[in-house]
């Protein structure tokens, strides 16, 4: 049954993707991308990847659509030219497709427990996590513990992308710093009473749920990446309901840039603290008397850093696009 559900969702995914590419109006592409993301999250859930599905839910359903739309508001939202050498690329793509389909025959079939992926390091992680880290969610344990370096790198990619967007879109303050200057016209949906009231009612629940996802990530699906995306979605909803200017008063630009830096610094700081206490970089065992308690503390702090930076970056990006929109 699972396989059939999966096949059905996958078929819909292909149809949606073709619809996205074919749509002439970019707005239609963005709306269809929303559906695409929903299907993808359902597929991840069916394939037993609860954490990934939660991330896709938090990012794809809220933040991604909002970002694409606020960028489209600044651009011509219709494709004008038909395309470049479409026939040639169609032939090349079809040839590559046939090669890839041919190669897929050699792949192990779906769910095969003896596939090469499952016989390398994965069993070790699954067996040793309860003993070494003592945390039910192996994904969180690997993310922040075993592969802490990798996650640090990813966090800095997000940090760099966020600062890049700010440099490209934020305006220069009179004293030389970057600033966002929303005009009072950005009222969002203030004139629509019902969506505004319900939106305001939902915001605290989203933020509360984000905190739950942040701190429950050791035991269930969740962690800093999901929580950061959810929290920023909550604040974006507030900005939609009350206008960007009001949202910037609640969480000002200074606070946002502070959050972007603070999260990354917290992550690095935990690593340095481990060095100071005589361990290696990001080896949390030395943080407490008991190695497992140390691991718990380290992972909690590191995930908190991830959550703070991710929500700061996503919100700063949203405000950069929105402020640009109103300046024109």
């Amino acid at each position: 049954m699972t396989v059939l559900f999966g096949a059905f969702l996958l078929t819909m995914l292909v149809i949606t993707a073709i619809g996205i590419v074919r749509a002439q109006h970019l707005f239609v592409s963005v709306v269809l991308s929303g559906i695409y993301s929903l299907q993808m999250a359902g597929m991840f859930f069916i394939l037993d990847a609860a954490d990934v599905a939660l991330t896709e839910a938090a990012v794809g359903a809220g933040v991604a659509t909002v970002l694409m739309l606020s960028a489209l508001a600044l651009l011509d939202d219709r494709e004008r030219s038909a395309g470049l050498k479409r026939l040639l690329f169609a032939v090349v793509a079809s040839a590559t497709l046939i090669l890839l389909l041919h190669a897929s025959v050699d792949m192990p079939s779906l769910g095969d427990p003896n596939a090469p992926v499952h016989t390398h390091v994965a069993p070790w992680y699954l067996e040793e996590t309860p003993r070494l880290i003592g945390m039910p969610n192996v994904v969180t344990a690997i993310l922040a513990g075993f592969r802490g370096y990798d996650t640090l790198g990813e966090l800095f990619v997000i940090f760099t992308a966020g600062t890049g967007v700010l440099f490209l879109l934020a305006s220069v303050h009179e004293r030389g710093g970057l600033a966002l200057l929303p005009s009072p016209d950005g009222t969002g949906l203030r004139h629509h009473l019902v969506p505004r009231l319900i939106g305001r009612f939902i915001v605290p629940f989203i933020v509360l749920f984000a905190l739950y996802v942040q701190f429950h990530g050791d035991f269930g699906p969740g962690g800093g990446f999901q929580a950061g995306a959810l929290a920023s979605a909550g604040i974006v909803l507030y900005a939609l309901a009350e206008g960007e200017a009001t949202a910037l008063k609640v969480l000002s630009f200074r606070v946002l840039t502070g959050m972007i830096a603070a999260g990354a610094l917290l992550y690095v700081g935990v690593g340095l603290a481990c060095l100071m206490l005589g361990g290696t970089f990001l080896d949390y065992s030395v943080l407490a008397d008991d190695p497992i308690a140390g691991q718990h503390l380290g992972i909690l702090l590191v995930e908190l850093g991830v959550g703070i930076t991710v929500s700061g970056v996503l919100l700063a990006i949203f405000h950069s696009f929105a402020a640009r929109e109103q300046r024109r």
Binding site: F27, V31, L38, A61, L69, H192, F209, V213
Partner: protein, 91 residues
């Protein structure tokens, strides 16, 4: 019985997808996206029960909370679009 409900939801998703692809107006597409979102919440809940993974209802909660934002963002975009391009036909 969960299977029957899941199949009904999946088929409805396909119908909503068809409407989203056909249009014809912007609002039809947004309606379809909104419907697809609520159906995803229901599908995730039913699947969580079908395979007895009730811990993962968190996902459905996340969608129930977040799905709304996309629709509101689209509406704000359409509202601003009309301000910037008065009289222009939208698809």
């Amino acid at each position: 019985m969960y299977v029957a409900a899941a199949i009904a939801i999946l088929v409805t998703m396909a119908l909503a997808l068809t409407r989203a692809l056909l249009g014809p107006s912007v609002y039809d597409r947004v309606l379809a996206v909104n419907m697809f979102g609520t159906k995803t919440v229901l599908f995730l809940s039913v699947i969580a029960f079908l395979y007895d993974r009730r811990d993962f209802l968190d996902l459905a909660v996340a969608y129930a909370l977040i799905n709304f934002i996309g629709v509101l963002a689209v509406l704000k975009f359409v509202q601003d679009y009309r301000l910037r391009h008065p009289g222009e036909d939208q698809r």
